[in-house]
Every structure is written in C-alpha cells, then in structure tokens.
Amino acid sequence: MNGDRLRRFAAEALGIVVAFALAIAVGMVLVLLLSAEPGHALYALLIQPLTSAFYFGNVLERAIPLIFAGLSVAVSFQARQFNIGAEGAIYIGALFGTLIALYATFLPGPVHQLAVFIAAIIGGALVGWLPGWLKARFGANEVVSTLMLNTIAIKFTSYLLSDPIRDKSSGYTQTVTLPDQVLLARILPPSRLHTGLFIALLAVVVTYGFLYRTTIGYEIRMVGINPRFAAYGGIDHRRAIVLAFVVSGILAGLGGIVEVVGIHQKLIENFSPGYGFDGLLVAIIARLHPLAVPFAAFFYAYLRAGAAIMERESDIPQEMVSVIQVILILFITAEALMSFFRKRMNRRTEHAR
C-alpha cells in the first residue's frame, strides 16, 4: 500500500513536471519570436543559473522565503481558508524579530538569536490569529480582513522605519546592521545563500508532521475536506480554523525574519517583493502538500533568477518570466481540473488508439 501512495505521488509529480515543461516551451517560443539573439536569451534563462556557484546560490537564496510563504498558504488552504495574509505576517515577523535583535543585546549570543526567532513566531502568530478569530467568531470574510491587515502591517513597518528605529546615519529607511550574533552564516559565497535554507527545510518537515501526524492537523484537514463531517464528529471547527491561521502566520513570520537575518542583515522598508503572494502560487503548484512545497519553490526561484540574468545579458526583459509564470499557473490549475475530468482524458486517449 506504500506502493499505492507512491504511485499516486508519482502521478501528481508527473503532472506538475509536464505543466512546467509546457510553460517553459511556450516561453521559449515567445523568446524565439521576440529576440534578435534567441539562443543567447534562452541560455541565460535556462542554463546560466546552473553555471556558477554564485548563480546557483542566487536560486536557492530566493527559494527560502518562497518555501516559508508556500507552507504558510498550504496550511490555511488545507483548512479551506482563503487566507492571503502571508505578506503581512512576513513583515510583522521580521519587525518583531528585528526589535529583539536591536534592543535585547544584553542576551548571550545563541540565546539572543533564539529570542529573535521566537519574537518573529509571536509576531506571525498574532497577525495570523486576528483574521482567524474574526472569521471563526463573526464569520468575517478572511480575504478582505487579511488584505487589509497586509496593508496595515506593511505601513506600520514603514512608519517605524521612517523614524523610531531608523538608522539615522544612513540615507535610507532601514535599521542599522543587526548584531553579528543574530545573523545567519553565509554558506556559498559570493552568493548570499545562508543557513536559513536548513531552517526552511526543517519547517517543511515540521509542517508536514503538523498536518499529517498531529490531532490538530487532522482536525484542520477534516474541516477543510468536509466541515459538516467534522462538526458531526465533534471537531471544534472554530478552534481548527483559528489554529490554521495561527500556524500559517507563524510560518510566514519566520520567513520574514529569516530573510532579514539571512539576506539583508537589517530591516529594510518594503524588503519583500511580494513573497506572500508568490507563496499562493507556490502552494497551488505544490497542490497544498508541504513536502512538494520546496520543489515548487525551487522551480519558481529558478525561473526568477534566470529571468534576472536574461534581462542583464540579452534583449528580453524580466517580465517575460511573468508571462511564463502565468502560463504555468494556468497549466497547473488546468491540470488540477484535469484530474476531475480524467475520465474525459481517458476517453480521448482510448479514441486515439
């Protein structure tokens, strides 16, 4: 029966790979049509990210926040909650962690670092909890509440960076560089790839365990699959929903602080280019399964890194990759729909025989 699971997993994975191949194929056709030197552009997009430690490090460093954001979205979506508040939680997690990093310097090194992460977890949990509680208690629509909360979180961070915690000596809205003892080590110089990668992979395993190996994960999944079944069985669906939001917020908040202490080494205004929203796409590509999230994040980051190189080295702009991404999402969702209509597909293949 493990073979059974494996077979199902392989089928899913194959579907995703095919979708990627198709999306990239469409992208290649476009490049061929648009570029004066298509070979060069394609090489930059697809091959060059693999050609040096620096480029490859760039891919992995980009994948880290996407893994956290993807996990965050996967958890709340499994409870059938359309929580799009990961972006806000990224900022608040980063902010809480940064505050501890800046002001709890009396703590000994490792304890200080741990405190930074715990602060980020608390921040993320709070941002996650509020819309979850509003939903469970008052039925407030989570799409609206999380979108509003995102704006509040981002603006609040900007406000603090505009004066209270700003590094007045620099000309930017950012803090001073954080103390060495809270920063994560770089592991593939000259790229900025850092040990946060291992934290992200640990988060993958822990999230999987949480959803599939704990009673609360069971409650969350059952509420997501059939809320009436869960209610009939005595599962407290409000609690399950709130917890899904909280865990989702924690994961995003961790993603935020890891980005700060790993990449930027200080808190910068608008440091996230929308990782929270990319997380939606990553989670959908991974079909909400935590173990598939790192792969989806990797592919996604790979495309982004390749795009940056392509823009630098050829006549095709980065935005080309947005086209590929959109097509990819279309294929993936179509593929998901496809499994509903698998019967039809079978029929067609039978017809062709």
């Binding site: 704990t214 999944r221 699959i225 039978e350």
Partner: protein, 516 residues
Amino acid sequence: MLLEMRGITKTYDGGVQANRDVSFSVRAGEIHALVGENGAGKSTLMKILFGLEPMDAGEIIYKGQKVRIQSPEQALEMGIGMVHQHFMLIPSLTVAENIVLGHEPRLGGGRFDFARAVRITRELSEQYGLSVNPQARIEEISVGARQRVEILKALYRGAELLILDEPTAVLTPKETNDLFVSLKQLIDRGHTIIFITHKLQEVIAISDRVTVMRQGRTVGTMNTADTTKEAISRLMVGRDVLLRVAKPPAKPGKPVLVTNDLRAKSDKGNEILKGISLTVHAGEIVGIAGVEGNGQSEFVEILTGLRRATGGQVKIGGQDVTNWPPKDIRRLGVGHVPEDRHVHGSAGLASIAENLILDRYDQPPFAGQGLARFIIRPKAIRSFARELIDRFDIRAENELVPAGALSGGNLQKVIIAREFVKQPQLLIAAQPTRGVDIGAIEFIHQEIVRQRDNGAAVLLISADLQEVLALSDRLVVFYEGEIVAEFTDTAHLTEEEVGYYMLGAWRDRTQKGESK
C-alpha cells in the same frame, strides 16, 4: 434485442476491476431489473452505457448497430437517458429550469424563454403522469418530486431507454408505488427501462426480467415470473440470505434516552418539533416511522448536538445534555449513523482510515498520552482500520483508499463500522441500510440487534417501513413534528396501518399494546 453489451471490462485508475467480461442485454419495451451486492459493478456498467466511463474492452450493440458511446451527450442523442444514484439537480433553480438546462428554449435574441420552459415541463409532466410544480425551486420540493424531475429531464432530452440507478432508495413506500405506476405508463408508451435496486420485492413487483451481478460479473438473467426472491438473493450473495430478521424478544432495562417536551424550529423558522416526549431503554430498539420531513431529522440533530432545541430537555444516561456540543455527547457513548452518508457521514477526499477514526483520533492508541497526546500514530490507525475493514466486510483495496471512491454501500459500511465498534450506550441509526445490498442489510440488521442485546438503547429512523417494522421492539409515528401513535407490540402491525398514521389520516386512535 434493443441493447446488447458484450464482454464489457473495466478497471478503474486505482486498480479496482469493476466489470469483468460482462454481458447484458435488454429487450425493447421491458423493465429490466439489475441487482447485485454493493460494489458488484452495476453503476459502473450503466455509466459505461451512458458514456460517463470509458470501457477497457467489450462492445455495445444498440438497435442492431455497433456503437461507440463516449459522452452522455452522445448517449442522449441515441435515446439513452440516465437518472443517477445521487441527484444532479441544481437546488437554487426551478424545476422547469432544471429540466431544460442544456437545451433551453430561447426567445429572439437568445434570451432564455422561461414561460416556454414552464409550458414544456407542464406538458411533459401531464403526458407521462409525473406530477411536478414547474415553478418550484428544487430545494423546496420533496425527494420523490426531485426524482420525477430527473426522469422528466431525461425524457425531455429524448430518452427511449431509461436507466434508473437505485431510484427507490430514497423514496417512501407511497412514493415508490407512484413511481411504479409512472414506469408502467412509460412502458405503455414504448419506452424501455433498466432499473437498479437492492429491494427484491421491487424486482418481483415491477420487472419483466432480472440480471444478477456478482463481483464484477453477470451471474444470470432470468424471467422474473420464473424466479423467487430467495433464488435471486442466493445468486447475488452466493449463499442463502435471511430475508427476515432473527430477533429474540427484547429485555428492556433502565431508561437511557429521555426527551421531555422537546421543541425546535426548522432552518426556515417554523416549528418543526412540537413537544416530543420519548424514552428509549437499554436493550430495546425504538423505531420512528414517518414520511421524511416530519421532524425526524431535526429530532436526531438535537439529540446529537447538531441543532439547538428551543424548548424541552434531553437526558442521556441520567445526565441533562440539552444543547451540549456534539463532542461531549459522543463522549457519553452515543453512536450516530447519519441519514446522509455524503453530507455528514464521510469526508470523501480523506482515506477510509481517516474516516474511521473521526471520534477517537485524539485518544489512545491513536494518539499518545501526556505530552504526546497531540501526536497521531499512523500504525495504530492503519491496523485499526484494517481490522474494521475485515470485520465489517468493507470491499476496498486497502485502508488508504479515499472514502469517496467506495461504492455507496461500502461507504455506508465504513460509517456503520465507526459508530458500532465503540459499543455505544445509545445508538441512533438514521436510514442505516439506505442503498445497501441485501447481504449487507442482513449484516447491519444483525449488528443492530446485537448492539441491543449487549445493552444498548437503539433509536432507529427509517423511511423503509418494512425495516422499522421488522427491527423495532416499540414503534412511534412522527407526523408534523408530533408523535401521533405509539405501538408496543410491533409483531402484529401491518404496513397499511402505520401508513395511515404517517400520512396524518389517523391520529391517536391506537391504544398501547393493541392495533386498533
């Protein structure tokens, strides 16, 4: 022969061989019953005929020609229509809109012509003697009426050969009779009908011929006139089946469930329960008979914590549990087989194992103790599930199969297994054998009696009068939210008698212990 299916073979993606070299033929103008245990492959065979599932091998000959049916549209074009086991109507639309959906009459400019849709519906309905109200919304009409809408929809699309997959599973005895009258009329007008059912008396009552399936194969086709219920059931199950429930007299103990003047409002706000006082003792089966929609469902929902009572009291095992949450009520040892296995009873995308642990996932051995009490133990869960699959004869490849891939009867067994294995002190079973094959019915009935003999108080709600009569030690009749009759001697009751009370024709005429 109108239809011949030869050598039909079908294996589902998951590896289940649902049809193996099946041959099946239907004569023009007959009612052909198709019977077999849950999972025998009846629905699959019909889905192939209707173009919903592709077949791996075999051929279909319709009206003398070899045909390829690849979609329901094609099937309908040829004149083959199907009414499914689960209705596929759109609840928020009207009857007329549902019937013409997909082939709507249009005004100039392409706008939908509702008036004509209503007219078409009315004409069809009169022509075939299937009465419906064209302007009512589906969500407002009874199950029986929905069924008629499904049939009319198929007829509107030009169906000559009509496939009915377990049409009577959800009907009351009266609705079933009405349906049979309409089916006879259809035959008189030159239609042909394939009729799937688990109720052998219906086979005898209405069909001309009957085909029996077992484990994906056809094991025989007979003229109904030349056979008996016993012979059919033997073919189906491969052994003799007890068609009557063997049941020693009840030995009632202390009261377990007591309700006192229980009142409730329906979702629409009208009074649906008008003061129900009922006691169920340990070791007895109390049946509730009644046409659906007379408060039975709401009564059960209150007992299990899924709906709030607006007045009165519920006591279980001496404790006042009125308006307690479901979890606390379950913890008192209450088992509940819900009336709809898809809505409440199961989570289709979750595995059988996950469905089976619904009310014990957080208790040892499925969860740890102390600090580990939040950790689930997959090994314990899987072996528990395997044990139940075995004991309750659930036909599934393994315990990780999604519950949604099971045949209707097997899904019901999953629910029965979950609710019975905990040896509840109070067992509430609503429609426990709806859509379940006779072998499984026998098994479920025996299990219910066994629960009773082990000291459980059993409350049985069923639209199947024969079932309530056969199982109940005591019987009450619900009509418009009240108990209008109570019988302490069910052995000498007839269906007709109970029927009068169910339809509100009689009221309180019977004294306890005697029938009139």
